[in-house]
């Protein structure tokens, strides 16, 4: 059974409809990727799934329960965690405090120390500078804090929006490596990425979004060979 189900979501903002009936399922323990060209509504979809935007139509259910009317913080408390685009760190707070805020929900508090060790193991660079203000970090380090903060929340589903955006290839690689290690722990993840080749390479299943709908879906391995994906991106 799917852990997260997006049913026929229509959504948008400021009176502009962007999504016209999107269906999506996340299988537990799998890494699912959502790709699609710029402005197609990937971030809008994630925000709607998290409850930051109210959908015009459709529903979201998580672990079999309808969460469409829950607030974003209630969904986070239930185990749906988003690492938002642009990192959105608490820039005035230290790395440690950012991680602490990640574990704000009651469900995450119990496992705080274990999760902290896990994050430091995943990103040793963060452990060296726990007292540094997050706003003073480089882009790559900030992204590590953002992912770390998400992991501290003890997620049942971790959603990552534009993991490698604005990062140098080497840093992007570091983060993708972390992703593959997380995958091995059995964490359910939904990845939104513009680096399609890399995203498809590490994923189990993929959706291609176009014109506000799911255009293609299938096992990532098959899609990576599909010329149509390539065409949506380069127009060739």
């Amino acid at each position: 059974m799917a852990i997260l189900e997006v049913n026929d979501i229509a959504s948008g903002y400021e009176g502009v409809q962007i999504l016209w009936g999107v269906n999506l399922k996340l299988e537990p323990g799998k890494l699912t990727t959502l790709v699609g060209s710029n402005g197609v509504g990937k971030t809008t979809l994630l925000k709607t799934v998290m409850g930051l935007i109210q959908p015009i139509n459709g529903s979201v259910s998580f672990q079999g329960e309808d969460v469409t009317n829950l607030s974003a913080h209630a969904r986070a408390n239930a185990g749906m965690v988003l690492v938002p685009e642009g990192r959105q760190l608490f820039t005035e707070m230290t790395i440690y405090e950012n991680l602490e805020m990640g574990a704000f929900s009651p469900r995450a508090r119990a496992t705080f120390n274990q999760n902290l060790d896990k994050v430091y193991e995943l990103f040793p660079r963060l452990k060296e500078r726990t007292r540094q203000k997050a706003g003073t970090l480089s882009g790559g380090e900030q992204q590590m804090v953002a992912v770390g903060r998400g992991l501290m929340a003890e997620p049942e589903v971790l959603m990552l929006d534009e993991l490698s955006l604005g990062l140098s290839p080497l840093l992007a690689l570091t983060l993708f490596e972390a992703l593959t290690r997380l995958k091995k722990t059995g964490l359910t993840m939904l990845l939104v990425e513009q680096n399609v080749t890399m995203a498809l390479a590490v994923s189990d299943y993929a959706y291609v979004l176009a014109e506000g709908k799911v255009h293609l879906e299938g096992p990532a391995r098959e899609l990576s060979k599909n010329d149509e994906v390539r065409r949506t991106y380069l127009g060739i």
Binding site: V16, N38, Q194, E211, G235
Partner: protein, 247 residues
């Protein structure tokens, strides 16, 4: 040569948004500007039209050095632009929005004259029947057209278009492309940022590719599309992926 950008560098805090960008835009040309998210495309626009002053480098427009000039002075010289995130003046009507462009553009028009011009450009983008509605009530495709009409009403020599196709459906894209072509027929040069590849490849005379603030390729559309460095910038480095999978 209508626009010359020479060695332009722009930093934000420690971040290098543009480094040593140099290119020319020929009169009457449609020049496409592409690149992954965060490559610095919109920043380049902002430097060209005076929203930001570059740390280093020069921008000249029709032979005149416009580096560091405030955006309203640049606009009055005949350089108009649209925004990636549409910015209609919500509480004004569609016509009034376009009249702002006419009144404060290259030619200083009276309200009456501006109204006539505004209706002309609204007609060109197929929005005339909405002229009296508040602009906040338009949908995204109409707002994009409104921005275009507003820029046109300024009677510019050069038009900067920032993702006019984003968020449009295929038929809207096709008609917007026709409009852009018609604008060029009127003798207006165009520099456009676009993510819809098929569209930009077919409409542009030449393409610039920006990645991490640096121009990585310049040339004809087919050259650029087959440039390995460009493919890598868009789809990711295949070698790197192989390395990742090997672990």
């Amino acid at each position: 040569m209508i626009l010359q950008v020479h060695d332009v560098t722009k930093r934000f805090g420690g971040l290098q948004a543009l480094s040593d960008v140099t290119f020319d835009l020929h009169t009457g040309e449609i020049l496409g500007l592409i690149g992954p998210n965060g490559a610095g495309k919109t920043t380049l626009f902002n430097v060209i039209n005076g929203v930001y002053a570059p740390e280093h480098g020069r921008v000249s427009f029709r032979g005149e050095d416009i580096t560091g000039l405030p955006s309203y002075d640049v606009a009055r010289l005949g350089l108009a632009r649209t925004h990636q995130v549409v910015r209609p003046l919500h509480e004004l009507t569609v016509r009034e929005n376009v009249m702002v462009g006419a009144c404060y553009g290259r030619e200083k028009h009276s309200l009456k004259e501006a109204k006539r011009l505004a209706d002309g450009s609204l007609d060109k983008v197929d929005l005339l029947d909405r002229a009296d509605q508040p602009s906040g009530s338009l949908n995204v495709s109409q707002k994009k057209r409104l921005e275009l009409a507003r820029a046109l009403a300024a009677r510019p020599y050069l038009l900067l278009l920032d993702e006019v196709l984003a968020g449009l459906n295929p038929s809207e894209i096709a008609s917007m492309m026709d409009t852009v072509r018609a604008i060029r027929e009127d003798g207006i040069s165009i520099l456009m940022i676009e993510h819809v590849m098929q569209a930009i490849m077919s409409i542009s005379d030449r393409i610039l590719v920006l990645d991490y603030g640096t121009l990585i390729a310049t040339g004809l559309p087919e050259e650029v599309a087959n440039n390995p460095q460009v493919i890598e910038a868009y789809l990711g480095d295949p070698k790197m992926t192989a390395q990742l999978l090997a672990e």
